[in-house]
């Protein structure tokens, strides 16, 4: 291709090129004129097809977004899903600051969501080990934000009634998390498999010896989350979802007296639940009896 261009160029520069070289090229050029016209037409069609092809492939990215029945659990402070996808610049700075590596980036199978952060709570929940919701601080575009700009939608049931108190910070001068909206809300999805509902206790590693998730145990080390497998439990009545919840008054163990006089237990999610997913991660039964419904508003 390049060679062809060179000859073409030489012929066009005929008046100034060395004597004797230009003449045959000029003739050649005249003879080739219809051929070049055809080549140009082909080039034009080829270009149009290429534009269509690339745009078509790019728009394929809409399919996973449109067909997703359930969106992902996003990091704390995430805007509403549509705004979140449009504002995220896909840099992963939130991933880099998370002390428990709870945040992962989506792949191209998520279409427009490629490179956008999400949390798989069952594998590694956000336990607010950073104390300050650092992913929000790291976000350069405001996809994750402490306070939404006025123009953006705030759905009913999403704002938290009070600033959530972080159990680990309870004795600090400022015990609250700078978080004004929940990212989801926990729900006892499978009460039949819940150990507390069955009146059972739990002892051992909550998620087995192979589980790689980390959790901050203030009693062990406030500043360094440790693997859950290194922190076995011994409970007469399983209440891990209640005790390991990092937020004050977000969940409690409800005790009722049945008709036969026996005590019945059931973990009950309260309005201060922010949807971090620690309960889902720590739940020792398979599949988890308690799960986080992402982007769900609170309803009493």
């Amino acid at each position: 291709m390049n060679d062809k261009r060179e000859t073409e160029a030489a012929s066009e520069a005929a008046p100034l090129s060395p004597v004797g070289e230009a003449a045959p090229v000029v003739n050649n050029r005249r003879a080739r004129a219809p051929v070049r016209k055809q080549a140009n037409r082909r080039k034009f069609i080829r270009s149009a097809v290429m534009i269509g092809g690339v745009l078509g492939l790019a728009m394929l990215g809409y399919i996973p977004v449109a067909s997703a029945r359930k969106s992902r659990l996003r990091p704390p402070g995430a805007l509403e899903e549509r705004d979140f996808l449009s504002s995220c610049i896909k840099c992963g700075q939130c991933v880099q600051v998370c002390p428990v590596a709870a945040i992962k980036l989506d792949d191209i199978d998520q279409g427009f969501g490629v490179g956008v952060p999400y949390i798989d709570a069952r594998e590694q929940a956000c336990d607010f080990s950073c104390d300050a919701v650092q992913c929000i601080l790291a976000c350069p575009t405001g996809s994750l934000t402490y306070t939404k700009p006025p123009a953006l939608e705030i759905r009913a049931g999403m704002p938290l009634a009070q600033a959530p108190v972080l159990k680990a910070k309870e004795n600090d001068p400022e015990p609250t998390l700078n978080l004004s909206e929940r990212i989801g809300v926990a729900r006892l999805a499978h009460p039949e498999s819940c150990l507390a509902v069955q009146g059972k206790g739990f002892s051992g590693q909550a998620r087995g010896a192979d589980f790689r998730g980390h959790l901050r145990y203030v009693a062990v080390d406030r500043w360094k989350p440790v693997p859950v497998r290194d922190h076995p439990y011994q409970r007469d009545l399983c209440d891990l979802c209640v005790t390991e919840c990092p937020i004050r008054d977000a969940i409690h163990m409800k005790e009722t007296i049945a008709a036969d006089g026996s005590k019945q237990y059931r973990p009950e999610v309260l309005e201060q639940c922010v949807g971090c997913g620690v309960c889902e991660m720590i739940c020792p039964v398979e599949p988890a009896a308690i799960v986080v419904d992402q982007r769900q508003p609170w309803s009493a």
Binding site: M1, N2, R5, E6, A9, A10, E12, A13, P15, L16, S17, P18, V19, K43, F44, R46, S47, M50, I51, V54, L55, L57, A58, M59, G61, Y62, V65, R82, D83, L85, S86, S87, C88, I89, K90, C91, G92, Q93, V95, Q96, V97, L105, D107, I108, D109, G111, F112, V114, G115, A138, P140, T141, G142, T145, P149, A151, L152
Partner: protein, 320 residues
């Protein structure tokens, strides 16, 4: 060629022959009309005194690899020098935001927070000083991969196994406009979904992904069908930085008196239309700055046997 004309060429127009040629340039053009034997002799003399090297290519590869590794190691080793990816990052705390990604986000989200503005402005100034599209050849990881695969493409072309199919260069401007419109209308950063720059940068930092399959597909397309197709005809990032580079003082400069019009520079160039001026009879002045679409990769500077193409910083070179 006027500066305006060079910008027009960047958007896809074919370069035009000059209408006004300075007397000095005219004289050089006419002096070059000598007998073939004399011309060859002078050419040989010039060649003997200027060795073809890979100086700029090697420097550029080193910078490109180091820049990308700095991202990777900032995360892996937690040294926190350059956190984030090419789309947006923090260099020892200062926000840096890729201009095209920023544009996409601004158009799609329609809300600009202070950090986004600061990061974008910083990067704008940075690349306006450093040469606009020099981002492509000195930083973009896809550029390096494409450069390596281009070698394979040229090898296959020389064995007549494949041939290069050119597209109209205006397609890139079409893509730029369409992707901008798509962002505004759909509210999604559509281009980011298929941007090999973003995909590769994230893969280098956060680990391999399925999206690398798309990058591989692009590379295969470039090897078997069209030389450097993505960078030449599609990538809106290149055009965004090209526009910034239109005001940049860092560029390659062409010196008519040293040129023997052999055309080696146009053969190695990613964007040969910017080197239209090196064609015999095209130069209107003794020295001509190469247009904003030039990625300042330095391949032409390396390959030129007679030193007719050199890096130049407008204003600074005269001062020194």
């Amino acid at each position: 060629m006027s500066h305006f004309e060079r910008i027009r060429v960047m958007f896809g127009a074919a370069p035009e022959k000059p209408t006004v040629v300075t007397p000095e340039a005219k004289q050089v053009h006419s002096l070059k009309r000598m007998t073939k034997a004399d011309f060859e002799a002078i050419k040989q003399h010039a060649r003997d005194h200027e060795l073809v090297t890979h100086k700029w290519r090697n420097r550029r590869w080193a910078v490109l690899i180091l820049a990308n590794l700095l991202f990777t190691f900032s995360f892996w080793l937690d040294i926190q020098v350059l956190e984030g990816a090419l789309t947006a990052s923090r260099f020892v705390g200062f926000h840096l935001i890729d201009l095209n990604s920023a544009l996409q986000v601004m158009l799609a989200h329609k809300h600009i927070i202070v950090n986004l503005f600061i990061g974008t402005a910083t990067v704008f100034v940075l690349w306006a000083v450093l040469g606009g599209r020099s981002f492509c050849s000195w930083v973009c990881p896809y550029h390096l991969l494409a450069e390596w695969f281009e070698w394979l493409h040229l090898k296959l072309v020389s064995k007549k196994l494949v041939s290069d199919h050119e597209f109209h260069r205006g397609t890139r401007s079409v893509f730029w406009v369409v992707f901008a419109l798509l962002a505004v209308v759909s509210g999604y950063t559509v281009f980011e979904t298929i941007s090999p720059t973003g995909i590769l940068s994230r893969a280098l930092i956060y680990g391999p992904s399925l999206a690398l399959g798309w990058v591989l597909l692009l590379l295969v397309f470039e090897v078997v069908y069209s030389r450097r197709a993505w960078c030449r005809y599609v990538c809106p990032i290149g055009l965004t930085y090209g526009i910034v580079g239109a005001v940049s003082p860092v560029r390659v400069e062409y010196r008519l008196d040293k040129c023997f019009h052999e055309g080696d520079c146009r053969k190695v160039c990613l964007v040969p239309h910017v080197l239209d001026v090196v064609i015999k009879g095209r130069a209107a002045e003794m020295t001509t700055p190469i247009g904003p679409d030039c990625t300042r990769c330095g391949l032409c500077v390396d390959v030129c046997p007679s030193g007719a193409l050199v890096f130049d910083v407008k204003g600074l070179s005269k001062l020194l």
